[in-house]
């Protein structure tokens, strides 16, 4: 599955003869080992869902969040090395704030995504540093409506209607493609995201996991927030129920 980049993979400054930068591809591997993250852009907002894999029962639920705010109107969700996520999120927050100070207006989602991507790309140029081992989904609402972007370790950024990253990316994308996102509200999307996370979660390999849900939408006043507890509980219950129904049908 993986090709060995013997000799050409020691530093991010080196291309392989077939034009690949192996260190960046290895960074993507780090992302693929992490819990699945799903984000959907719907009619009135953006929703994020994270399958947070837990290593121990001793960990306090609700900590070590993989979702967060970059500004009041923009949030992120990330797959990959958590420490790298923190560093990149810090940069996103700085960019938002500096933009606001300079231009006296909220940073548009696309501009923030492109700035984070530019920053990420810089780490693929020099031998003294390593690329970020995380993929960050950046979503929010601005004058152009709800938007969702994803930044990968190589520094590429694209806009999406729906996207997944992490362990079960392929399975999650299949599920996402079945949805009619342009007609869905954020409230409905929350339930779908929870269902997808539960469905693609591998019970055998990773017993312990915690679901994280967050959104930016009309219901949240166009501000990023972790989904309120009562809605979260409903969505989680519905997701578990959907799993049981699936099992019974088989």
């Amino acid at each position: 599955m993986t090709s060995i980049g013997t000799g050409y993979d020691l530093s991010v400054q080196t291309y392989s003869p077939d034009g690949r930068i192996f260190q960046v591809e290895y960074a993507n591997k780090a992302v693929e080992n992490s819990g699945t993250v799903v984000a959907l852009r719907c009619k009135d907002g953006v929703v994020f869902g994270v399958e947070k894999l837990i290593s121990s029962q001793l960990l306090e639920p609700g900590t070590n969040r993989r979702v967060g705010a970059a500004d009041y109107h923009i949030g992120f969700a990330s797959a990959g090395l958590l420490a790298d996520v923190r560093a990149l999120a810090g940069r996103a927050r700085q960019e938002s704030e500096a933009y606001k100070q300079n231009f006296q207006t909220e940073i548009p989602v696309r501009v923030l995504a492109e700035r984070v991507a530019n920053y990420t790309q810089v780490f693929t140029l020099y031998g003294a540093v390593r690329p970020f081992g995380c993929t960050m989904m950046i979503g929010g609402i601005d004058l152009n409506g709800p938007q969702l972007y994803m930044v990968e370790p190589s520094g590429v950024v694209y806009g999406y209607y729906g996207i997944a990253a992490g362990k079960a990316t392929a399975a999650a994308k299949t599920e996402i493609e079945k949805l009619k996102l342009s007609e869905m509200t954020a409230r409905q999307a929350i339930f779908e995201v929870a269902k997808i996370i539960y469905r693609v979660h591998d019970e055998v390999k990773d017993k312990l996991f915690e679901l994280e849900l967050a959104w930016v939408c009309q219901d949240s006043g166009n501000r990023f927030q972790v989904v309120p507890k009562d809605l979260f509980d409903q969505a989680e219950a519905a997701a578990k129920q959907a799993l049981e129904d699936d099992d019974m049908q088989e």
């Binding site: 300079n102 231009f103 006296q104 548009p108 501009v111």
Partner: protein, 198 residues
């Protein structure tokens, strides 16, 4: 001066530039373009305001490339404010940034000498403005149409030009709406005339 109306702004200025008592330019254009839909009224030191306007034009052009759309009026005003405030000891610039954007429609932002930034429904500046505060307060009403705003601007400027030695020449106006720009000029012998003595 500049006045907001529903759908855009009307900007007006006189055309006198002086060095002491000599009128260096009696037909100057004190309303400068920053972007298609954001213009600026300049008062104070001509050199300072021209330099600031050049910077603003450049910054806004760079900014709109990253933004991939027209910048907001507020952004132009904020950048102008930063320049005026950071260099407050070195420049003498009274700016009025006005224009139209798709977020908030017509807007007028006044940036007086110290580098304050304040949005106002209408704004006056320059040496001649001191003589027309009373007139403007008495005759402005919210919700005026474009034509009413133009009359208001012409009358106010004519009165200021009649009393202030540093103001005079022609009245230049710029009307900015989402559909575009309308420039106009009323020559000195065609200004509105008020009481000039018995």
């Amino acid at each position: 001066m500049a006045v907001e109306f529903d759908g855009g702004v009307v900007m007006g200025a006189d055309s006198r530039t002086t060095t002491g008592s000599y009128i260096a330019n009696r037909v100057s254009d004190k309303i400068t373009e920053l972007t298609d839909k954001i213009w600026i009224c300049r008062s104070g030191s001509a050199a300072d305001t021209q330099a600031i306007s050049d910077y603003l034009k450049y910054y806004l052009a760079m900014h709109s490339v990253e933004l991939n759309e027209e910048p907001l009026v507020r952004t132009a005003a904020a950048l102008g404010q930063q320049m005026c405030y950071s260099n407050k000891n070195a420049v003498q610039a009274g700016l009025i940034v006005a224009g139209w954007d798709r977020a908030k429609g017509g807007q007028v932002y006044n940036i007086p000498l110290g580098g304050t930034l304040v949005r106002q429904p209408f704004s006056i500046g320059g040496s001649g403005s001191t003589y027309i505060y009373g007139y403007c307060d008495a005759h402005y009403k919210p919700g005026m149409s474009k034509e009413e705003c133009l009359t208001f601007v012409h009358n106010s400027l004519a009165l200021a030009m009649a009393r202030d030695g540093s103001s005079g020449g022609v009245i230049r106006t710029v009307v900015i709406t989402k559909d575009g720009i309308e420039r106009n000029m009323v020559p000195g012998n065609r200004l509105p005339i008020f009481y000039e003595g018995p």
